[in-house]
Symmetry: C4
Subunit: 282 residues, 4 copies
């Protein structure tokens, strides 16, 4: 859906109402549930509720994985899930019903099939199924999968982020720069890992006994996380590790700078487009 | 108080004296104790003393929590606190007395009530009470609360930071950008935590036995702090953790860039306003 | 080879074919194997294959150092290496054959000698030798060296990175700034190491018993890696370490900023040159 | 000495010789030993030698603190030090002799006293004394102090860094911004330390039993070093620590940004001044 930039807004924020009184019920519902149907930054009241329910249901799914909480508040979690599932089901039906307003140049049936088979449409359905299916299945392994799947509900929020589209295109333009800096970082990692495999592979076989093992140390050092579960012990190893750590802060910082610039560009473009939409005749 | 940008300065720095000789005693006192009564960067002599007393009293309150120091220098800490408390009490009375000059369009009584019920006015009173009440109460639990409360005195310094107002408004303008980057960082954290709950939840139940537990690992890894109290041990876990650490340095750096730009904007605006105030006729 | 910016492209991307039909077979081969023979960003189909084979052969060499994988997939690794080695040998012969097109102002023999004695030409030969020689030698020590040498194949990728040249010159221009910030960082490291040698040298002789030993701590702290294998234990040591850590984040960040700016400059210049090449008559 | 920007160069780089043939011997020596006597970036041959001797002597002093190296190469270290000391003594005498050329508007005696009592002049003398005095004193404690003092020789290099002056003035201009961000970072540190003293002071008295102790944890966490020697263990402590770590990456990054901008400004000004010096008539 994110690929349709020029959807004509049906809801006029400046008049705090629909753009025209001659709208059908479906169009009025559509104006409230589709984020692209409004011409200003921000969400409709209905979509604010959707965001809150998604966040609440995800939080419940997260907390439920903690055995102590699951035992103590099992009933509450159950009702929170059933309520959220019902809400999502109603929302899904409404989105399916109003799909023809989102794709005005299609027949109603084709528009609904297009929504139902879109990634976000399939995700919506999957989450509803994952919430209600534990009532049918009782195997622990399946329940475990279903439980984690419910956290996917958070991905539904991407529907509301029109900014995402601009970000992705801004990152895409700089993909070549990013690739080069990532290539440098990769070379440095491999250089560090190979050096320590060479220097300490026989002293600390668990940590540096092979290059793939030494790469764990290299990644954790170059990102400056530094757990300390593995670190060199010989003077030569420490010298190489120190040089890698020093070189790393510079090399790892480069992709950050590129991404930050891409993000700033993406947000800027988004603001300009929003402005040009809200001043159509200027 | 920070919401009154256009208070007319009573003290003229260029003449190193009050703007007019026809000032009452209260106005002269006010010109020395209210940071907004001066038209240049920097603090009056009286307020410099206030800052030093606040810093000294807070340092004493901090050091006093160390049992060894509390035993050795108990008497000194006691006298430092009593002196600071007396100073704060006198300062509070002066601010209450001169409140009508801060709110010139109110009656004297209303202005004083407004100051006494403002957040900073209440904080001033609370700190004075917390310093003198240990003489009355003797229960350990209450004393402990009072002791920490005295460190709040540091928050009194915000009174002198006119820059704060500009910073808050600059951050507010970019709140949408910040929210999006924080949302990305949150997604990444949750992704990492869920993955390691999935991969190592049964091997290291203390560290990754539930998503809330795994989130501690995810936060400490994505911020690149990396205590090393919990870290993955399986090859799969290490692969996911390495990818999360790499992605994290980029994603966590984005809010930093936005905040830095907001800070720079805020300082710029502050300088421009200070300049336009000191050149009123240009 | 990177020192020849103005090589005339033989392959015209816009026509998806050679610039002229009157090319010899050698020129046509050259247009496919030499990255400098094309006037647009990106690689020819043949060179994309080369990149994939290099990455695959390196990955195999890396994984092979893990004993478990070497035992389980020994035969597969053997065949991957033989295939990659054969491919590299054919590629080497082709590059040697077409060298006269790369250096059009030399005789064919001199051009081939120049290629064979260039760093990248020697590297190509070295890698081919390191792949096939294990069939002759059987001593473990030599095999170990040969195995690591095969990872050098990755360095062959630098042939395709025309961007590298611009980066190096951009860094070179700022070498003076970089040197000064590195000097500051070095001073700070030495100051931290000397302080902790002084303060904790006798308490923790293994960690701080000499300045070279304390430098390991200083590097790992200033880069914010912080393994935690050595850290101060006395209040004085912690005070100095805290001050060094705080000062360090600022000082270590400076070279990062300079490098990021140099990288951005280098990429910019590269883009401009590519643009001026593809619009020769504008 | 750094406070004299407009010293007239005596040595003309473009002519690769003195600006005039009518120079006295002292002026010719001065043109070689005083970094400010040249109108281009870079050092004279004599000063390059000085830098190398300083670096060599410091390296020897550092390595000598390692007992194993001191035993094995004691004689070599001894001769390196004596040679460096002799070189420094000759250099000191030359600088003293040519001081009148550095301060041309003073009498010769006053200029030499000014040099001898300047910080760098005193440092030069101190280092020479620290190198030769071990021949007189034999107490271990004094020798230890003298050994560390020799590392101070590195500070002699600041003489050659004309860039330092510009950097200091650029930082000075932004001191107010820096102070505010450092104030924020300080608040955050104190907030974290107080919270964990409150939450885990009784569970981990060694780590969080007082606010000064908890500040060690706060500094190491906010700088993202994260040794892991102390970290929270309760869910509440972990929640506060996670929030502090997240807030910290933003707040600690602000001074970095300001310093980077100040550094960039300082280097820019330096380049402009060098340019205007080398093009005096343009």
């Amino acid at each position: 859906m994110a690929d349709r930039p020029a959807l004509r807004p049906l809801y006029d924020e400046r008049r705090a109402g629909p753009v025209s009184e001659a709208l059908t019920l479906r169009q009025r519902v559509f104006a409230h549930i589709d984020p692209a149907a409004r011409n200003i930054e921000g969400l409709s009241f209905f979509n604010k509720i959707v965001v809150l329910v998604v966040l609440g249901a995800s939080l419940a799914a997260i907390l439920q994985t903690e055995p102590a909480l699951a035992r103590a508040y099992g009933r509450d979690f159950f009702w929170i899930e059933i309520s959220a599932g019902t809400f999502f089901a109603v929302e899904y039906v409404l989105r399916l019903w109003t799909a023809p307003d989102h794709f005005p140049d299609m027949t109603a049936a084709r528009a609904r099939i297009k929504f139902a088979t879109s990634p976000l449409g399939l995700l919506d359905l999957l989450i509803i199924v994952s919430i209600f299916s534990p009532m049918i299945f009782e195997e622990a392994a399946i329940l475990r999968v279903l439980r984690v799947m419910r956290i996917l509900a958070l991905a539904r929020l991407t529907r509301f982020s029109l900014a995402l589209r601009y970000l992705i295109s801004a990152v895409h333009e700089r993909r070549y720069d990013l690739l080069i800096t990532l290539g440098f970082a990769g070379f440095l990692m491999l250089f560090g890992a190979t050096s320590l495999y060479w220097l300490e592979g026989e002293i600390q076989p668990d940590a540096f006994g092979s290059i793939p093992r030494a790469l764990w140390w290299a990644v954790i050092t170059l990102t400056t996380v530094g757990y300390g579960d593995v670190s060199p012990v010989t003077p030569e190893g420490k010298m190489v590790a120190g040089a890698v750590a020093l070189a790393g802060i510079a090399l790892v910082a480069l992709p950050t700078g590129i991404l930050a610039a891409a993000f700033s560009d993406g947000m800027q473009r988004r603001r300009e487009e929003l402005k040009s939409q809200s001043e159509p005749d200027a």
